[in-house]
């Protein structure tokens, strides 16, 4: 692992530090509380081999513990997000090795990551790429995005949450169509169906995503964490329980110093400074 420290001058009269770390399958840049994970195996269309998932899980594991890392963005290149799993690795799987596959652990780290996770998606987001995208809390797509679960074409089915996450986001009819036919959808459909929150010209998808991440990174970390948890709780519980969960989280936050800071800053008409 190579670490470059790159001091990129002053911003808002405060020293800003940008750190870039290069992994084998990723490049990770940390800037002002935003961790940007860029998949860098473009020659293999960023196919999510075990090593890639492991490296993503490592970065998230670290970001979870590090107070300075507020928000994470995952992106590919301008032309491809991630075009699936590694077919070679998949070919080796037997029922037993599949059940014991270490990939499930990596996916769990991604799924349980408690801080905001954003995806910047240009080009192919297929199979595991689509699943990685859906593990993110907010998705922005470029005009060249092509999103799908084509596993059925190989005689298999999505294996990292595709069948469960799609239906919870876009409903039964469209999820079934995508999973049973294997046909991908384009950026417009992704936006209409609620998979993505914004459709950008491909050249600036990443810039837009980082900008949103920067905004989010300025919020109270504790509030972000409880908010994300409460929203995701909706998938796991009946409404009454979900409302109860929200009320408790809300009540807990009344005791936080960030809440005091937030309200004071609002009254004093200044930007808040959360810890």
């Amino acid at each position: 692992m190579r670490i470059n420290f790159n001091y990129s001058g002053h911003l808002c009269s405060r020293q800003r530090t940008s750190v870039t770390m290069t992994y084998q399958d990723l490049q990770v840049t940390k800037n002002d509380g935003v961790v940007h994970i860029q998949l860098t195996r473009e020659k293999s269309l960023n196919a999510l081999r075990n090593l890639t998932l492991k490296e993503i899980a490592d970065v998230l594991h670290h970001a979870e513990k590090n107070r300075d890392e507020k928000c994470v963005v995952i992106s590919g290149s301008e032309s491809v997000f991630a075009a699936g799993a590694d077919i070679g690795e998949m070919q080796q799987l037997s029922p037993v090795s599949s059940l014991q596959n270490i990939r499930a652990e990596y996916w769990k780290v991604i799924r349980k990551f408690p801080k905001p996770l954003l995806a910047s998606v240009n080009g192919y987001a297929l199979g595991a790429g689509c699943e990685l995208m859906m593990h993110c809390d907010i998705v922005l797509v470029g005009n060249n995005a092509l999103i799908g679960q084509p596993e059925i074409n190989l005689g298999i089915i999505p294996g990292a949450g595709g069948t469960q996450l799609l239906i919870r986001t876009i409903g039964k009819a469209m999820a079934m169509k995508m999973i049973l036919s294997g046909e991908p959808i384009n950026a417009e459909r992704a936006l209409e169906s609620g998979l993505a929150i914004e459709l950008c010209p491909k050249e600036i998808t990443l810039k837009r995503t980082l900008k949103l991440a920067n905004e989010i990174a300025k919020k109270s970390p504790l509030a972000l964490r409880l908010a994300k948890e409460a929203v995701l709780h909706a998938f796991e519980s009946p409404l009454e329980q979900g409302l109860e969960h929200e009320r408790r989280a809300f009540s807990i936050l009344t005791a936080s110093t960030d809440r005091e800071e937030g309200i004071n800053a609002f009254i004093e008409k200044r930007p808040p400074n959360y810890i």
Partner: protein, 266 residues
């Protein structure tokens, strides 16, 4: 490095950033066959930035530009009716999408008659020139079909409902001169000057800020479905991208230093 690739039915010449693609079945008025689709797709896939292509000209060899589908191939299927939907889905539609999505200017030199899908292919190009003797025909109505390969979209967008329906329901020949007067095409040129003039413009466009030109194309195309407010947002975004190109810097520097700019396309 000039490259030249001659499949049987499609000629592709690339030189100095300009690609010239010629439909080449002159004895059959350059009408489409399965083989020609294969060759055309192969040729269009070569039109990439990696190949250094910064402008494309599409033209036809012989006396016609393109007479659309070769009906002989359609008649060959005697046992069942041909699946026209499948033919559009597999062949024509991808080609029209490909032409309109190319991130370079696409010129068309309509050297003779452009009928049916041949007319659609010409009109899908960004700037259309036609020889004075050329004409556009929507012949579909005479055999019980509808204009396809984008015909029912391209005609009303360029001409309005009245003229689009007049042409499509009557199937009359629209001469190049009138096509220019109606705004269907950019310019009508004397037959013997057509290729010379289009190639000169193509060569010129191949030296221009290609990325910027492609953004212009994207913005104009989006305007048909965007509201003014959405279009303002799009212009904001695309201008932001254009403003970060090296060619923009070069353009400004050349202007300030009163010299000719040298654009590299991005």
């Amino acid at each position: 490095m000039p490259t030249r690739e001659h499949n049987n039915t499609i000629l592709l010449d690339i030189s100095d950033g300009l690609a010239i693609l010629t439909l080449n079945r002159p004895d059959r008025l350059n009408s489409f066959t399965a083989e020609m689709f294969k060759d055309l797709k192969k040729a269009l896939n070569k039109i990439t930035p990696e190949q250094g292509v910064r402008c494309l000209i599409i033209t036809g060899s012989g006396r016609a530009f393109c007479a659309g589908q070769d009906l002989n191939q359609r008649a060959e299927t005697k046992t069942s009716t041909p699946d026209l939907s499948a033919s559009l889905e597999k062949n024509y539609n991808p080609i029209i999408r490909k032409i309109t999505e190319l991130e370079i200017p696409v010129l068309c030199a309509v050297n003779g008659v452009a009928a049916g899908a041949g007319s659609s292919i010409a009109l899908a190009c960004d700037i259309v020139f036609a020889a004075r003797s050329a004409s556009f025909i929507q012949a579909f109505c005479k055999i019980g079909l509808i204009p396809d390969a984008g015909g029912t979209w391209l005609l009303p967008h360029k001409l309005g409902r009245a003229r689009a329906l007049g042409l499509s329901l009557l199937g009359d020949k629209l001469p190049a001169q009138k096509a220019e007067e109606w705004g269907l095409i950019w310019k009508c040129v004397d037959d013997n000057k057509l290729l010379e003039e289009v190639v000169a413009i193509g060569k010129q466009l191949a030296t221009q800020p290609t990325k910027g030109l492609s953004l212009i194309k994207r913005a104009i195309d989006k305007s048909f479905t965007n509201s003014l407010s959405e279009q303002l947002d799009l212009e904001r975004d695309l201008q932001g991208i254009a403003g970060e190109t090296k060619d923009f810097q070069e353009g400004v520097a050349a202007f300030l230093n009163k010299r000719n700019p040298t654009f590299n396309g991005n």
